[in-house]
């Protein structure tokens, strides 16, 4: 009997490992910035380049930082959901326009709708590096104390929003 049990056990372990491997997303690199203060920056705003914005301005509020670019295909996929979120007006949404061209970015927001409370411009990608961004879109949930609590890599799906991000925002706001 054990003759058959041993190969069966080995097979079961193999299947377990492979199924875990199948469900892992190798593109999702866990961010070391979770539960760390959001890196400071002072960047020019997209709409009014003379004005600046920094995370300190939002201290005391829970907010989302969404990294996007008009060149980014997945951002286009994500955008309608962000527009909806912007309309719901439940949480400030800051857009970090990553390595983009100002005209293209403004045209994008004009054509597809502007969900952002404010958009800031990171032309050389220095701030994105500080946030550990490696592929747009990425979204950070930042709490009242300016601590990063969650990072979404890739486009937010409706499920991500209703199951993960909004409940977390509500919890942090409450």
């Amino acid at each position: 009997m054990t003759r058959y049990l041993i190969p069966l056990a080995i097979f079961a372990v193999l299947v377990a490992f492979l199924s875990i491997g199948l469900n892992l997303k190798p593109r999702d690199v866990p961010s070391p910035l979770i539960d760390k203060p959001a890196p400071a920056f002072t960047l020019n705003q997209l709409h009014e380049p003379a004005k600046q914005m920094s995370p300190a301005d939002l201290k005391g509020k829970v907010w989302l930082l969404n990294v996007w670019g008009s060149w980014c295909v997945s951002c286009r996929q994500e955008h309608p959901l962000l527009v909806e979120l912007g309309k719901a007006n439940v949480v400030p949404l800051v857009g970090l326009n990553w390595k983009d061209n100002r005209e293209a970015a403004l045209k994008w927001l004009g054509d597809l709708g502007d969900p952002y409370t404010v958009s800031v411009v990171d032309p050389d990608g220095k701030v994105a590096i500080d946030y550990g961004v490696y592929g747009a879109p990425e979204t950070y949930v930042i709490d009242r104390d300016g601590v990063i609590r969650y990072k979404q890599i890739g486009p937010i799906s409706p499920e991500d929003l209703t199951r993960t991000i909004l409940p977390l925002v509500k919890k942090l706001q409450g």
């Binding site: 593109r27 690199v29 910035l33």
Partner: protein, 158 residues
């Protein structure tokens, strides 16, 4: 003539690609060598099986420039690696550090090897024990074997 021109046009992208590889080369060859050595140890997060040194992704070029700028500021390799892991985690390092979360990664192959060796020895010992029991011949069998060996070999001889 037209063929030669076509060939030339077809070769152009190659030349452009070659120019691209050489793009981040700056005036200081010693510094460049250091940049290449360090970025070869860092993973490009966009194309995860390439190092920063090999990758042409936009982000990789930005990070290479970041490494170069930090080296120009006089920061050490360790400081630059810390800068990268603070932002991107241990994942950027091709050589992960030995710590609680990575000991399985480091010790795993050796543990597996030890287990395989133990299993092999156990198997050999069991087999030896099993064959040992049947190897002892009875007196009768011994006698038959002797008779066969001693008998004049008629069939095989020429």
């Amino acid at each position: 003539m037209i063929r030669a021109l076509t060939m030339l046009v077809l070769l152009l992208p190659l030349v452009a690609a070659a120019a691209d590889t050489a793009l981040p080369v700056e005036d200081d060859p010693v510094l460049e060598k250091r940049v290449t050595a360090l970025t070869a140890e860092l993973r490009c997060l966009v194309c995860q099986n390439q190092s920063l040194a090999d990758s042409h992704a936009d982000l990789a070029i930005d990070l290479k420039n970041q490494v170069r700028a930090m080296m120009k500021e006089g920061r050490s390799d360790a400081e630059i690696k810390a800068f990268m892991t603070d932002r991107y985690g241990d994942f950027v390092l091709y050589r992960p550090p030995v710590k609680a979360t990575t000991w399985l990664l480091w010790a795993g192959p050796f543990v597996l090897f030890a287990v395989a060796l133990a299993a092999l020895f156990a198997y050999i010992r069991r087999r030896r024990a099993a064959t040992g029991e049947t190897a002892a011949l009875t007196a009768e069998q011994q006698g038959r074997a002797r008779a066969l060996l001693d008998a004049p070999d008629s069939a095989d001889s020429p």
